[in-house]
């Protein structure tokens, strides 16, 4: 156990209330977390990504924000650029999926309160693909686990998982306690995996992330992955990281020869590298098979978690173009407002919607009251190509199936699971 984190003059002023009560409270909260993790001091951050959906916030979280939003501008405004994770409702499309109006009303209140703090409502978990990608070595306070693991691992930036209240505290103070993945010593590899067979599609990449995530025992374990020859695409490594962070509690991985801090094994392990765990095709197939039980009934197909990039939506549009979703099945895809606008311009939205699909913006399926919309629509059997999504929805009353994007679309058209 170490002592109290060192504070500089500015931080002492924040803690003394010189910049108002919200910043004092924020600094106190950050200090409490800093003590818990033995932080020696604080580090200034350049941007904040804030988890802001009302399913997570609840009524009490929204009331907390509304109280903050009523304070004078100088007391309530965020100090660094701050953007948001997906909301809980698409204000343009909530009736299409029978979303309860009370959630939508709560969502509007939250959105208004966040905006009053100077927060930019980007409503995306793929901010690194759509808003502003961080730079190697940049210190951040990122919310969503998928965006955090991408920023740390693929881009070499530095963030811990910052839950909503903590990200808000970071936005109000412009800093975080320096512990965990802000420190060189916490970014060293701890566990080694050798991948024998390259994943074939996005669901395979997610399955590989899930396989490694299930083996992670703590937040501070850093898996090192060997055997991937040639860079994955941004979407492939996105699905891999999002699943790894979801099945584990893992903010950082190194992929030898691919990610910026891992040119070779010697660069990431302090001493001799540990014996590797081998992962092959059979492991991926077994992982997928674990979600393929109980017949071929299908209610809903969801592409989300993470939101889809422009490239993924172009692929999806291509698979759906000229086909027709079975009347007993709903097909939903989610993306950011910026990408949705692009899809509208490029005709991708039309390809998806004319086939009977629904393209939602600013939301992600599991953050939009998935349990309640499942009950309202009679959805139980869900198919997705996102290993992260099927992991989460098992706890939300769904019976999820994991398959490729192609298999998901074919199944939606057939009205039953085909793969």
């Amino acid at each position: 156990m170490t002592g109290e984190p060192r504070l500089n003059e500015e931080e002492r002023a924040l803690l003394a209330g010189a910049y108002g009560e919200p910043r004092r409270r924020a600094m106190e909260q950050l200090l409490s977390v800093g003590r818990f993790f033995d932080a020696e001091d604080f580090v200034e951050i350049s941007q904040v990504h804030l988890m802001a959906d009302t399913e997570a916030l609840g009524e009490s979280g929204v009331e907390f924000l509304e109280a903050l939003a009523k304070l004078p501008w100088e007391e309530r405004r965020v100090r660094v650029p701050t953007i948001t994770d997906p909301r809980g409702a698409d204000f343009k499309a909530y009736d299409r999926i029978k979303q309860d109006r009370s959630y939508v009303a709560l969502e509007r209140r939250a959105s208004d309160a966040f905006a009053a703090l100077g927060i930019m409502m980007t409503d995306t978990c793929i901010n690194y693909q759509t808003v502003i990608p961080p730079v190697k070595g940049e210190h951040l306070a990122f919310g969503d686990t998928g965006s955090s693991i991408y920023a740390n691992s693929v881009l070499g930036a530095r963030t811990n998982f910052e839950g909503g209240p903590s990200a808000l505290a970071a936005a109000l103070t412009g800093r975080v306690p320096r512990y965990g993945f802000h420190l060189d010593r916490c970014r060293r590899g701890t566990t080694r995996f050798v991948v024998q067979d390259r994943p074939r599609d996005l669901s395979d990449w997610g399955a590989l992330g899930g396989l490694i995530g299930r083996r992670m025992r703590s937040y501070f374990e850093v898996p090192v992955i060997e055997g991937i020859a040639g860079s994955p695409t941004s979407d492939e490594i996105k699905h891999f990281g999002a699943a790894l962070a979801s099945y584990g509690s893992t903010p950082l991985f190194h992929m030898i020869g691919i990610t910026p801090e891992a040119p070779d094994l010697q660069s990431v392990f302090d001493r001799n590298s540990p014996d590797p765990i081998q992962l092959g095709r059979q492991d991926i197939d077994d992982f997928l098979a674990g979600f393929r039980q109980g017949g071929d009934k299908l209610d809903v197909v969801v592409f989300a978690a993470p939101q889809l990039s422009l490239v993924e939506l172009q692929q999806l549009g291509g698979l759906m173009k000229g086909r027709r979703i079975h009347p007993d099945v709903t097909l939903i895809a989610t993306t950011s407002p910026e990408i949705k606008s692009g899809c509208d311009r490029f005709g991708i939205t039309a390809e998806i919607e004319e086939a009977g699909g629904i393209l939602l913006e600013g939301v992600c399926f599991y953050q939009m009251h998935a349990r309640e919309i499942g009950e309202a629509n009679g959805w139980k059997r869900l198919m997705s190509n996102s290993a992260k999504l099927v992991n989460i929805l098992g706890g939300y009353g769904y019976d999820p199936v994991l398959g490729s994007m192609q298999a998901c679309v074919d199944s939606a058209v057939a009205g039953r699971i085909v793969a």
Partner: protein, 138 residues
Amino acid sequence: MSSTIILKAHAGIGADVSGVALVASDNFSARYDLNRIEGIFSRPQHKLFGQNYVGRILVLNAAKGGVATAWMLREMAERGMAPAALLLNFANTIMAQGAAFGNVPLMDRFEADVTELIRTGDHVEVRSSRGEVIVTRS
């Protein structure tokens, strides 16, 4: 005849509390594992599936994915539907941030596996600031 043991851990977050333990060797995420309205574990694969956690000293292995837990602990606490305290082998940042924001007592980093040191039904006193837990078994 009851026995009492004192467990040492890293200093935690939150006030001193006591209650009855609910223990499993599984991991924990408020978003993925719980039905927070009913106050029960809702993920079928979880060893505590169907069990009510409200007011219990919840003892589990590691905090798992899902940044939403940080908002959720306060929301659960304000509705009176939170566990009395969380004792984990390994917390993550989200759990610590949520505990700090929601005033839910949290401790981790025990001398040995806390899910083996404490059993369901034990009476547990949590002294977060001192990094100490007193376990009484009857």
